[in-house]
């Protein structure tokens, strides 16, 4: 599903280059639950951003379902973005000025989904995550775990095929972390959503079915 071929990311420093990622080769198949691990600054977040089209690689090729992303039209990439990829962030990244309901609804708005369908989809997700009672609250009125729950709800509401999660439990205590990870596992197994997570935690990494170690821009398997 995701194929990275000799992906590099660097910034010019003086006359040389400072590599964040160097010639990464990586394939992630449909239905996998992959954990990317590595110390701070090893390039794992950059790798996730590249997969999520938030950043462009300096070199190399990225194929999404066999199609080269760099050759896609802007429109197609936006479609891919909206339809196939969902994001979950360490700091939840909810929009402070929007309620829980509105936050979850936002990605659907960008997909031009009809009002009635939006309503039913958001209602489904709220129901599934058991947060119906909180739909009119603002992010600042929720605990960290609840915010992340909303973050995940927002990621899956547009029915993506892949969820990219950047340290989704980094700001949570262990009980909350556990339930979030179980939720990911469920999404992976029941909904067949491919999940790629970046994590520091060995415990969290075990929820996945593959671990990729990254250090100084290289993959160490």
């Amino acid at each position: 599903m995701i194929q990275l071929q000799k992906i590099s990311k660097y910034y010019p420093v003086g006359l040389g280059r400072n590599f964040i990622l160097k010639e990464i080769d990586l394939t992630i198949n449909e239905g996998e639950f992959v954990s990317i691990m590595g110390p701070s600054g090893s390039g794992k977040s950059t790798l996730l951003h590249i997969m999520g089209l938030l950043e462009e690689p300096s070199d190399g090729q990225y194929l999404f379902e066999g199609e080269r992303v760099d050759r896609m039209s802007e429109k197609k990439r936006t479609e891919l973005h909206r339809g196939s990829i969902g994001f979950v962030f360490q700091a939840y990244h909810l929009i402070d000025e929007l309620t829980v309901y509105e936050n979850i609804e936002t990605p659907l708005l960008y997909k031009n989904i009809s009002s009635s369908e939006r309503k039913s989809r958001v209602a489904d997700v709220l129901d599934r995550f058991n947060i119906v009672a909180k739909k009119d609250l603002f992010p600042s009125q929720l605990s960290g775990g609840q915010q992340q729950l909303v973050g995940i709800a927002r990621a899956i509401v547009s029915e993506p095929r892949v969820i990219l999660a950047d340290e989704p439990t980094g700001n949570l205590h262990s009980d909350q972390a556990k339930s979030i990870m179980e939720l990911f596992k469920e999404l992976n197994e029941k909904d067949k959503i491919t999940i790629v997570q970046v994590t520091h935690s060995d415990v969290n990494a075990t929820y996945g079915n593959r671990i990729i170690q990254i250090r100084d821009g290289h993959i160490r398997s």
């Binding site: 950059t46 951003h49 999520g52 938030l54 950043e55 802007e74 936006t78 973005h81 909206r82 994001f87 962030f89 990244h93 909810l94 929009i95 402070d96 000025e97 929007l98 509105e102 609804e105 936002t106 990605p107 708005l109 960008y110 997909k111 009002s115 927002r154 547009s158």
Partner: protein, 788 residues
Amino acid sequence: MLLDNYIQVAWRNLTSRKLYSGIKIGGLAAGLCVGILILLFVGHELSYDRWHKGSDKIFTLVNRLKLNTDTIQLEKFNYAIAPRIREEYSSVNDYSRISNALANDVVIQSVKNPALKDAEQNIMFADANFFSFFSFELKAGSATAVLQQPFSMVISEQMAKKYFGQTMAIGQQLLYDNKYLFQVTGIMADMPSNSSIKADFILSASSWNGMDALKTLVTDSRGNGGPFTVFLKLNNPTDATLLEKQLTGEIKEGEFPVRAILRPFIDTHKETTGQVRYLKLFPLVAGLILLMAFINYMSLTTANAFRRVKEISIRKSLGANYKHIAWQFYVESGIYALIAFGAAILLFVFLHNTLFARFDIKIDDRFLFNPIAISIYLGLLILTVLVSGSYPAFILSRYKPAEGLRLGKHRSVTKVLTVFQFVIAGILIVSSIIIRDQLHFFKHTNTGVNRDHILMLPFRSSIGTNYQTYKSQVAALKEVEGTGTARYPLYEGVDIWFVNDEESKSSYSLSVLQVDEPLIRLCDLQWKEKPIDLKLGASNTIVLNETAVRNLNIDRAPIGKVVKIGGLNKEVVGIVKDFNFSSLHRAITPLALFIEKENSLAWGKETSGCLYVKFSPRANLPGLLNQIDKIHAGIDPQSTFQYQFLDDAFNRMYKEENQLMNIFDGFTAITILIAALGLLGLATFSAEQRTKEIGIRKVLGANLGQLVLLLSKEFIKLVFVSLIVATPVAWYLMKLWLQQFAYRVELNVWMFMLSAALVLTVAIIAIGWQVLKAALRNPVTSLKITSD
């Protein structure tokens, strides 16, 4: 809908940060209010007379006469010239004449209620076709019929109310000048404020044949001059140039070369009032103030961008592209603009009467709703959204989530914008100070005339030979220190005579004031060569001013020289020192005084004149005026009592500058307000962004003074840069402005120092509050705030 989502976010952002939103909206609203005001004024000025049907085909006949160095414009003609022109030239479709001869200050009296009378200012005689030639609205009466008959009149609604109240005015009569009965045949709507023809009473010109004083004016056809303004309606506006040439060939004014000019009717206002000189400046000023308001909005929004970066990143990760983000910020500025616009309209509704009065602008309320005005409002609203939304939308939509917002570049843009605002503020402040100083100079410089405590009391010819009685009764009043007489109130005009120089075969124009000898003492005019009493008042003598002596080339031994003036030989018997008998805009021109004997019967016999009264500085003015009014009413009951103070008359000549000063003061205040708001906003953000830094510095031992300096240094530097840019620009512009005056102040360092001090004070006040607040904050709380 996505739009709802944007509106929600914008609205919640707006309400959660009230000070910041208030500054943004307040700045925009102030700018928009001024923008509306100025554009309405300009729109109104430009709409003068254009609302007449076929206004582009109407032209006013003007003759331009060249007399050596002087050009004289003749705008009034005799009765016969207009029909003759139409007869001879097929390009002329129609003509219409109006005249206000013997129609100013005439007493109009109700027949039913004789106590109801008043000296009316706006009376006019007009041809029968007046209402079909022009497009003035008639509320009652038919356009073609109302002025057909002699002694018929059309009055304005306002006058109908004044003289007839609720009763039907049509068919009733009004007494004109105590002699003639006119029948009201029509009621017209009050003339719009954007009409160069202004009248409350329009009387049929055919009445003249039945009016003794005016009869001769109709029949007199010597020369071309007369009492009528002549309007010609051409078949085609482009015929004007040819017709001008043809008329120039035909019309002669004695031996002088004449050029006939057809002035487009729609240019009347522009060409006959001075206001237009500054009119060109107004859109520029409006533009600048609007731009400042927009800049304020943009730089505040941009400064706030770091708060929005997170939201934009999230939106981008959820599938928004740059168009979505740009659109969102346009929607947001649209909301701000709408609110600001609403506030501006409210401000305008509540303030426009005060503002119009202060700026001495007259605009009908109904003009505020006409299509021009409405397109101004809509245009401003759209412009506001487009311009103020543009920069934030541009930089925020191009922000790439993973790269972080590079605020550095935009911070310098914000700095440039702030400098720009303060440059404008600086220029306006300097200009205000200089205009103020020039006006002060006008009012307080020594003009050679002592204007203190002098009343001018114009009298009409109806006073007749009783003038001497009137004068002596007024002079006998306890609080009156002296009296004098002249043909006209000073500063309201002079007669122009021509002097023929036999030797050089050329002629000069010479201003003439007809005065009596006590008036010279009353106004403290200084003699250079005092004449022998015996010769004063003799009909063949004149007194000249120094400039006239110089211009007539009789510097050596002028006394006793004979000057041929208006065809008459007059002996120069005395010389007065130069004094300013007209405004200080112009240098003193050659002047002759015709001095009449005090006790002669020269005054009041046939013509009107003006009694000057010097009153005691301790006089009780209302009481004194009341006493004089009673004396006047006893001697000349036919005319109404009028008065003005010499000092006021003098100051009125600088009405235009006064108006300019008021306008500049207003604009300057608004500009300073907007610039200060902008600075306040930026200081707020700077303090907010540096909260953590300030906390750390405090913990490390920085004291209050050091922190205040740290926070304000950046802004004060910007203000200094602005002043450095503004000073030469203001110096140049004001130098240019001052050049139009013959008497003017010198540009001085203190003017610039004062404005610099003002700008700095404003800046310090604007940032001081936020800076102090930030510096005084307890480091424990400030570090806590930023830790999450």
